[in-house]
Symmetry: C2
Subunit: 355 residues, 2 copies
């Protein structure tokens, strides 16, 4: 049976198919739909407040009694000056004015939000926690382990996968260059590593003893089964689920993905200060000349946040972060549960066809 | 039987495994070894003179009676001024002086070499011809078709694959971002498309009626079988064969690959004027400041040629084009025939393990 792997056994799910935690684009309905179909749904809580996380977990639990994951961004502390912030606000002012908004002032978030989110996850009875942008400190890991939590890390190179394993992660997502949204890189020398899924998965699987989850460019049953063949124990799909009805991505975002081609995406840091893959648009092109002025994460994210929210509302794809992987020609709309069932039957067909 | 595909039937080979035509690094011994094991060997004749091609074909035919391919670079005409050439020679002079060489003057090669190579291929009885950097003009294609030749194109985007099919190619290599050596892109909008193998193969396979050959990051039986699952009818491996005994790559090149990691390669145009993937070294880093001065292909290739030849002789990996894909951790030394047999048995194991 193709759907029994180390990952499905540990996570107690039926199929080795994971809905990627797309921060800002997941909903309880999406996560529960995937969970109810036998996959792993993930709440993308990267930007959540404690209140929002508590509500999302409760709402998800009301819709499914199956396991699901919560994904957090490991906090990162960068320095920025008021002058830099003011300069970026000036660069952005034509867009903000055109949309009639005043951007929020970025705030350094050296607060205890991350630890509060951790506590909420433990208290809520969620049993799977995944991380992006690095590895939490040892005390946090021990606390989660003591609560019986299964931990999933993220890596974009073999070295990052090894460090995840050494830090006590139970499994690790290896994210290839094709993946949409933020690159999960956290080591300095991984930031421009850009390793594709086809090359990354087998090399990572050879290097670590924990199960590996493939991500990046996987959009259908062929990609899922190819991932397993390459040595992964599950496949994680983001863009494929982003265009479903239950996804919180704005309609304009979904529609642009559904109409795009594989060569339309680029890696850019102009929206958040961290590199992420999205469909090329006017804002990305306009910002090319300001490469040196982009604020470090999370400041750039904060200062462009209102602009993007307003762009989403007004259907302005030219100013929106159109996160997307390279597999866009294979994107489809419809309900998440329906997509999930199609994925499963596609894998069955692939296996039948290859025998 | 996993090894029967459209590609194996058309090419009359036993296994859907192709040794990539690595211009300058193939030998009759390498091509024949792969052919004799039941794969498709390819003579990388991209930079060949007519005399060299005739000799290589004869030598290969003396070593095998199995089919093999000859790969040609489709000529491309760029303009360059004497001033630009002199400026690049000045930039390169410290390296040339250190190695005690005088670089060749680049010459515009608007001659009939390409057509002479085509004639030699036809006369020699070779039955498979593959192309990189575009599609030959219609008259050339008709001539090859009239001679009963099977034609293989190369694409880095879906659009390029479609154009190959429309132009009469019998099959098309779709080259993912992970691939070592030159990117085969020929459409302007494909030059920075950078689509990974996992995303490119299924999308291309859906778009064309001719068989698709996957390339990029494929190094072992897992990668070969995953390629077939993704929708390809064969897998093409370059770096995997580059480190074999029969490859003409300098020992220093092979040794560096064997000791490298997946994140060590970059795309660079500093050696040839066209983007190619190789291991990062001092020359690439030194040239970063001269980005605007790099001559267009083939001029940059010609002006750095002697430097690279001398670097190879003196074991100077800092000045050599260390072409390599991203799968380097999976590279191995030994004989090509042995590697080929290992690849076949690895696919067998993958299939046995997945049932």
């Amino acid at each position: 049976m193709w759907h029994q792997t180390e990952v499905t056994k540990i996570l107690n799910i039926r199929y080795p198919i994971i809905q990627a935690p797309m921060a800002g684009s997941t909903t309880p309905e999406l996560v529960a739909a995937v969970a109810n179909q036998g996959g792993l749904g993930s709440i993308g809580a990267g930007y959540y407040t404690p209140e929002k996380l508590r509500r999302d977990i409760e709402d998800t639990q009301a819709l499914t009694d199956k396991p699901f994951a919560v994904n957090l961004f490991v906090p990162e502390y960068n320095e920025v000056t008021i002058t830099q912030i003011e300069h970026m606000k000036e660069i952005l002012s034509p867009y903000d004015e055109a949309l009639g908004i005043t951007p929020d002032d970025p705030t350094v978030s050296r607060d205890d939000t991350f630890l509060r989110l951790i506590d909420i996850i433990i208290e809520s009875g969620v049993k799977i926690c995944s991380f992006t942008f690095g590895i939490p400190e040892t005390l946090v890991i021990k606390k989660l382990q003591a609560a019986g939590m299964t931990l999933i890390g993220c890596a974009t190179t073999v070295e990052e996968a090894v460090i995840n394993a050494q830090a006590g992660m139970d499994m690790v997502v290896v994210q290839g260059f094709e993946a949409g949204g933020h690159r999960g890189s956290f080591l300095k020398n991984a930031l421009d590593s850009n390793v594709g899924t086809m090359a990354l998965v087998p090399q990572a699987a050879d290097a670590v003893d924990i199960p590996v989850i493939a991500a990046g460019g996987i959009m259908d049953g062929r990609g899922i089964y190819a991932s397993l063949i390459l040595g992964a124990d599950a496949a994680q799909l983001g863009t494929a689920f982003l265009t479903t009805e239950e996804s919180a991505a704005p309609d304009i975002h979904k529609n642009v993905i559904l109409a795009s081609e594989e060569a339309d995406t680029v890696l850019t840091n102009v929206f958040s200060g961290k590199y992420a893959r999205g469909l090329r648009n006017e804002f990305i092109e306009d910002m090319e000349v300001y490469e040196a002025d982009i604020l470090p994460y999370p400041f750039q994210n904060q200062v462009t946040k209102k602009m993007r929210a307003e762009a989403a509302k007004s259907g302005r794809s030219d100013l929106l972060h159109l996160w997307s992987g390279q597999g866009v020609r294979l994107s489809r709309d419809g309900e998440a549960a329906e997509l999930f069932r199609e994925l499963v039957s596609e894998v069955d067909e692939v296996i039948a066809g290859s025998n």
